[in-house]
Symmetry: C2
């Protein structure tokens, strides 16, 4: 087994979210400017300098600061599958970049001295940020290795795409959330998911024996990671070899429906259900239902396992501007121009949120009063804001009251959003208030 | 070493061209209709059926008939790097599909009974064909796993892209063809390329000890393939680990400049020179010089080795319609609309051809009177036709007299173009004559 871990120990960072890790004492990392992958010369040259090569096979690609290059070049490191936009032209995004967002000030959580929005972007190692207001771009910036025509790993923001497709299929009548998972995926009958409802999977209230404690070499997360790794398995490896071989091995631990437990495998189970009921892979479903209709500028893509299964729990990569279009679509209750791409009822279902009581048991001290629904994070604040979140600082933040969407790609050396949240959540609020003030 | 071969024995097919193999007795293969990958259900289902999975790690992806699915899904199998089209809108291709090309008849080489164009497409296992006439699409068809918004492996058609970029840089003054390769790439000083001129590399008249005899397990092609394979190397592997580590090991065998010797490594050396003089990888150079300007509909991509070096000798994948745009650009002497994208002098250099005498020594009995220049195949026929060719039936065929471009993707079970040529070369002539007749 040792050899499996040797090449997947860092790959896991890519494919799994450790949001439930406690924020930790920060070791000394290079700051955002020092670790700028372009200035550092990562993967530049023919061949690149030996100490500036990000490799997939030894996991070095996901070690900071190489990570800062890698998140914008995932496809160069591993096999992937396209989310086609089709061949049509894109719908232009209108820019009205006259606001003074860089100067907006806020006090980050646990601090007393205010910092500016601009300063906060360095704190979170932002690779790109767009703020949409009244449907127009009011702020757009790129840093490090990301360009407007590049793509970036969305990490667990992927889950909200999966959840959105899931609730769309529910509203179309293809999925019944009250049914047991085993109704759709008989292969999961003897696993923890066998007696869970689809709704429990979509809201992550399943009770799973599935540790995402990365410090524990026996944590299930490692086995899931090894199963999904597209590289050849070592000869002595006898575990599951794909995502769909792994999922049936997940064991139950407790009672479903009582507590929120953020476990990536729920998203992959939902992805499996989506694939089964549509007869298509999730990249194709995303392409047909949203990507071909939204006027995006670029194909998106998913990482895949050794048999081509897209990683529904964290494998999506896409352009920042396209992620802004997606956020705007969600804010617009599923409508883009005159087209109702996502049924309004699906967005309503997301926005109504999940059980706050269940969420409170999930262990997120910074996210008091929040809930989780259809794989979206619901703030339940007075703006009705909700968001998609991924490790290392990825976010789609939708604030209906301020008519604002913030999308961000980042490459924080630390994965947990508990590290980013102090510089992010009050920043979103401050920008929202600013935009509300200036109309 | 054995383990290296185990996973790369089929990968080589992807990355290398064995055009110089003699046509062989055909074993019994499923025909084009029987082997249609969609009908066969390759990679369909969640998960796909066990005997319908194309895997990269064991090389099964490149075994016929899985090959027919794989050539249209290379990215799903291996790491790749984008050739960005940018974010602008594409330039429309106008279709004028009123011609009766399907009914055009011709006699294939070595046969006596005529067949139709339509029948010939089945013989060559075509995945997609476009015929352009007077700049408009007069024929466009897709088969098997290829769709208009999909991409397909161009195989050695890649070399002609590399050659085109090379001659463009020559005309820009960045590369001097009379200089020795070692002038640009000192790392190659002690290799066969050390005392070869850039021109000899571009026309493949270098004298290399480099066998592309796939039947010989000791052929150099295997070592090149193992070096470029992006999968982790076995522990006991002590050979070169990347393309750029392999190329300096190529030994000389004979005198440069005397005979055409079709060896893939020449293209990778030219790719290296292009990367060195521009300071960019070849995918970036292709993007900047052509792809962002041509109004293409899709990003293209290259396969890469373990350190991200694009495979300049055979790793390009692109959409069929975009390959038609490229062919049309070449036919138009480098002009697209009012934009001179490629200097006319570069196209002139290609069209004037290489040494027929040298070519005659290259071992292509079906290609009498042809020559090779700037990594393009020059027919020297009375239409002034020239082409880019890749294993398993890939082609860009440019016929200036008929004002015609034919582009084709295919997945013939046999790699050698000697198998396709009897059904292809007379077919191109027949269509050209037909189009000349009807104006």
């Amino acid at each position: 087994m040792k050899q499996v871990y040797s090449y997947s120990q860092l790959f896991f960072c890519l494919i799994l979210c450790w949001n439930n890790l406690k924020a930790q004492e920060k070791p000394k990392y290079l700051d955002a400017e020092q670790s700028d992958p372009v200035k550092m010369g990562w993967m530049v040259g023919s061949p690149p300098q030996a100490d500036r090569i990000a490799r997939f096979d030894d996991g070095s690609f996901f070690q900071f600061p190489a990570l800062r290059w890698s998140v914008a070049h995932m496809r160069q490191l591993m096999p992937t599958i396209n989310v086609s936009r089709g061949l049509g032209n894109s719908v232009a995004l209108i820019t009205n970049d006259t606001k003074k967002i860089d100067d907006v000030k806020f006090v980050s959580l646990g601090e007393t001295k205010p910092i500016t929005w601009k300063e906060s972007l360095q704190k979170v190692y932002a690779d790109g940020v767009i703020v949409m207001h009244h449907g127009k771009i009011v702020y757009e910036k790129y840093f490090g290795a990301l360009t407007p025509d590049g793509q970036h790993g969305a990490m667990s923001v992927t889950k909200s795409f999966t959840g959105t497709l899931g609730i769309m299929l529910v509203k179309e009548g293809l999925i019944d959330t009250t049914k047991l998972v085993s109704h759709y995926i008989p292969e999961l009958k003897n696993s923890a998911f066998g007696d869970a409802t689809v709704r429990q999977v979509m809201d992550m209230t399943t009770a799973l024996q599935f540790s995402e404690d990365y410090a524990d070499p026996n944590a299930e997360i490692w086995k899931f990671s090894a199963a999904g790794n597209p590289l050849p398995k070592p000869k002595d490896y006898d575990g599951p070899k794909t995502y769909y071989e792994y999922l049936p091995t997940v064991k139950k631990n407790g009672v479903h429906g009582e507590a929120f437990g953020y476990k990536t495998v729920n998203s992959d189970v939902l992805g499996w259900i989506i694939a089964r009921v549509t007869g298509k892979t999730i990249n194709e479903v995303l392409s047909e239902k949203i990507w071909r209709k939204l006027g995006v500028e670029q194909d998106a893509y998913y990482s895949v396992d050794a048999v081509g299964t897209p990683f529904a729990g964290g494998g999506l990569n896409l352009g920042l501007r396209d992620m802004a279009r997606f956020g705007q679509l969600i804010l617009n209750n599923g409508k883009s121009g005159t087209q109702q791409i996502i049924p309004k009822a699906a967005i309503d279902d997301i926005r109504k949120g999940g059980s706050k009581k269940a969420f409170a048991k999930g262990g997120y001290p910074l996210l008091k009063g929040w809930s989780y629904r259809d794989m979206w994070w619901i703030t339940n604040n007075d703006h009705g804001a909700f968001c998609a979140r991924g490790v290392h600082g990825q976010v789609v933040y939708v604030d209906p009251k301020a008519d604002m969407v913030i999308v961000r790609f980042a490459s924080n050396p630390l994965a947990s959003n508990a590290v980013n949240d102090p510089y992010s959540l009050p920043a979103y609020d401050a920008v929202a208030k600013y935009l509300l003030t200036i109309k």
